[in-house]
């Protein structure tokens, strides 16, 4: 029996639309009306979704903009709390890997690595012991000692991925970031992710790149209109998703996840 590391159990998440209570002035002068408005007007981001992600799995999430993918990641990362249902996560989690999260523009790349590592829950000693490895992987050369405000977006992505990849999280969350690096670095990231497979790290990947979902993931979930539309083999999910979107993508050439295509 495989062990689920992430379980969503009938999870719903909605956001109040805070537009009515934007300031003290508004609250003081229209309080009762605004309170009612705030209760009735809310934005539903996820409606009653349930799924499990098992240890060591590479789990892809696809869907249209605004379907609820990022909310799902936020719930897994623990920065959001569901309104109904239950989210259980077992294992140390990486932050949502996105450009520049937790980076301070005035500090050098090196200093930012330490800052980020500690934010992720490691101690200073642990980060320092991995510092050289991280810097090597990022291939930033001399730039590592310069403030990151002079970095290009591709260089930031390199730094971000290098940090997250080397802090051995047990669950790695990746939110659409690989597109920024150059092809050589993208390949390097893919290789690193494949290497994660052997070490048993669980990975959740949110992407609009159908090809990377097919080539990396073991299983995929399609979120449509704030609910789970389908969960299953990435290739099938991708085919259905493309059909529904009315986009023809030739999926035949994409190398499929090795483990699955052999089974």
């Amino acid at each position: 029996m495989r062990e689920p590391v992430i379980s969503f159990d009938n999870v719903s998440k909605h956001y109040p639309l805070y537009t009515n209570v934007r300031g003290i002035k508004n609250v003081l002068f229209n309080f009762p009306r605004n309170l009612r408005a705030m209760r009735s007007q809310r934005f539903e981001a996820l409606r009653d979704i349930s799924f499990d992600v098992y240890r060591g799995e590479k789990f892809g999430i696809i869907g249209r903009n605004g379907a609820g993918k990022s909310t799902t990641l936020g719930l897994i990362a623990g920065v959001l709390r569901p309104n109904e249902g239950r989210v259980v996560v077992r294992g140390r989690i990486s932050p949502l890997l996105a450009l520049g999260a937790g980076f301070n523009p005035e500090l050098s790349g090196r200093e930012n690595i330490v800052l980020n590592g500690i934010l992720m829950g490691l101690t200073r000693r642990e980060v320092l012991s991995k510092l050289d490895e991280i810097i090597d992987f990022s291939e930033l050369g001399d730039f590592i000692n310069h403030p990151i405000r002079i970095y290009s977006s591709g260089m930031l992505a390199r730094l971000g991925f290098s940090v997250v990849a080397h802090l051995d999280p047990e669950i790695l969350l990746i939110d659409e970031v690989l597109g920024v690096g150059d092809i050589k670095f993208q390949q390097k990231c893919l290789d690193k992710m494949m290497a994660f497979k052997e070490s048993g790290i669980t990975m959740v990947l949110v992407s609009h790149s159908i090809s990377s979902v097919i080539s990396i993931c073991d299983r995929a979930m399609w979120i449509e209109d704030h609910t789970v539309k389908m969960v299953g083999h990435p290739y099938e999910i991708a085919a259905q998703y493309c059909k529904a979107a009315g986009v023809e993508v030739d999926l035949g050439d994409i190398p499929q996840n090795v483990e699955f295509s052999s089974s």
């Binding site: 956001y15 805070y18 209570v21 934007r22 300031g23 003290i24 002035k25 609250v27 936020g74 719930l75 990362a77 623990g78 920065v79 959001l80 709390r81 569901p82 109904e84 249902g85 239950r86 989210v87 259980v88 996560v89 077992r90 294992g91 140390r92 989690i93 932050p95 949502l96 996105a98 520049g100 999260a101 937790g102 980076f103 301070n104 005035e106 500090l107 200093e111 330490v114 800052l115 500690i118 934010l119 992720m120 829950g121 490691l122 101690t123 200073r124 047990e170």
Partner: protein, 263 residues
């Protein structure tokens, strides 16, 4: 039943300590990139204030107060710590939006690191105060040894409490930022900083302790100006500090889980 369960993402005490350390270090590094100049900037602003008030009240209006420059200096430096911390707190969580949205970590540590940072600037400016004490024929007394650490602690607690309230609430009511500007202006002139307590008309004297900042600033000033430790006023400030800290923690606890939704 708790709706979120994150197992395996416990942080050790060492991580909390390191987190605080790097966050404080980050601000200091950014500020003191060029060391001498950075230090000059952090004392330039209170000194400039002191000069302006000296000109307006001593030279133009000829107010007759003994050791007026020393009185100004010993009130303005602690006030700067207070005002800078409170003034920057509304934007604190807003300014760290990427962190709050992406990483799960104890956000309560952000205001603490900001205040510790201002405290370090204050401690670094103590030699300037000492210089003025010497110029006016005084010398540090034994009371300094007990007085300074106690007042530092009380001051820290009070600012932390206020800052937790303001930084949390401002995410939801964005005009608090403007309100703070206005209120701080009142507080500055209602606090004996640029005038001695004796000049306050008799019938208003009883109201001094109603201003939460006044007992604290008076305690600081008497310590530097007369070398005496005002136990009564320190006790009152301590009571205010505890009250603000309790209120701040309460507000933070109530609101913190919604932070990622609103930043």
């Amino acid at each position: 039943m708790s709706r979120v369960k994150h197992l395996g993402s416990r942080r050790e005490l060492e991580n909390y300590r390191d987190l605080l350390f790097v966050l404080v270090q980050k601000d200091i590094k950014v500020r003191y990139k060029s060391k001498i100049l950075g230090y000059l900037w952090s004392i330039a602003s209170p000194l400039a204030f002191a000069c302006v008030y000296f000109f307006a009240f001593r030279i133009v209006m000829r107010v007759d107060v003994a050791n007026y420059p020393l009185m100004l200096i010993s009130g303005i430096f602690p006030w700067q710590w207070f005002a800078n911390s409170v003034g920057s707190s509304p934007r604190l969580f807003l300014g760290n939006a990427p962190l709050i949205k992406k990483v799960k970590f104890p956000r309560i540590i952000i205001p603490l690191s900001m205040i510790l940072n201002h405290m370090i600037h204050f401690i670094l400016s103590l030699p300037v105060i000492l210089l003025f004490v010497f110029i006016y024929g005084g010398a540090p007394t034994l009371s300094w040894i007990i007085g300074i650490p106690i007042l530092l602690a009380v001051h820290l607690m009070m600012v932390y409490g206020i800052s937790l309230v303001l930084s949390s609430l401002n995410l939801f009511l964005r005009d608090i930022e403007r309100l703070v500007d206005v209120v701080m202006r009142f507080v500055f002139y209602f606090t004996p900083i640029i005038y001695p307590i004796e000049l306050i008309p008799e019938r208003f004297q009883a109201f001094i302790p109603l201003n939460p900042v006044a007992p604290l600033i008076i305690s600081w000033r008497e310590l530097f100006l007369f070398g005496t430790f005002n136990l009564a006023y320190t006790a009152i400030s301590f009571a205010y500090a505890l009250a603000f800290l309790a209120l701040g923690y309460f507000v933070y606890r109530k609101l913190s889980w919604r932070f990622a939704e609103v930043v």
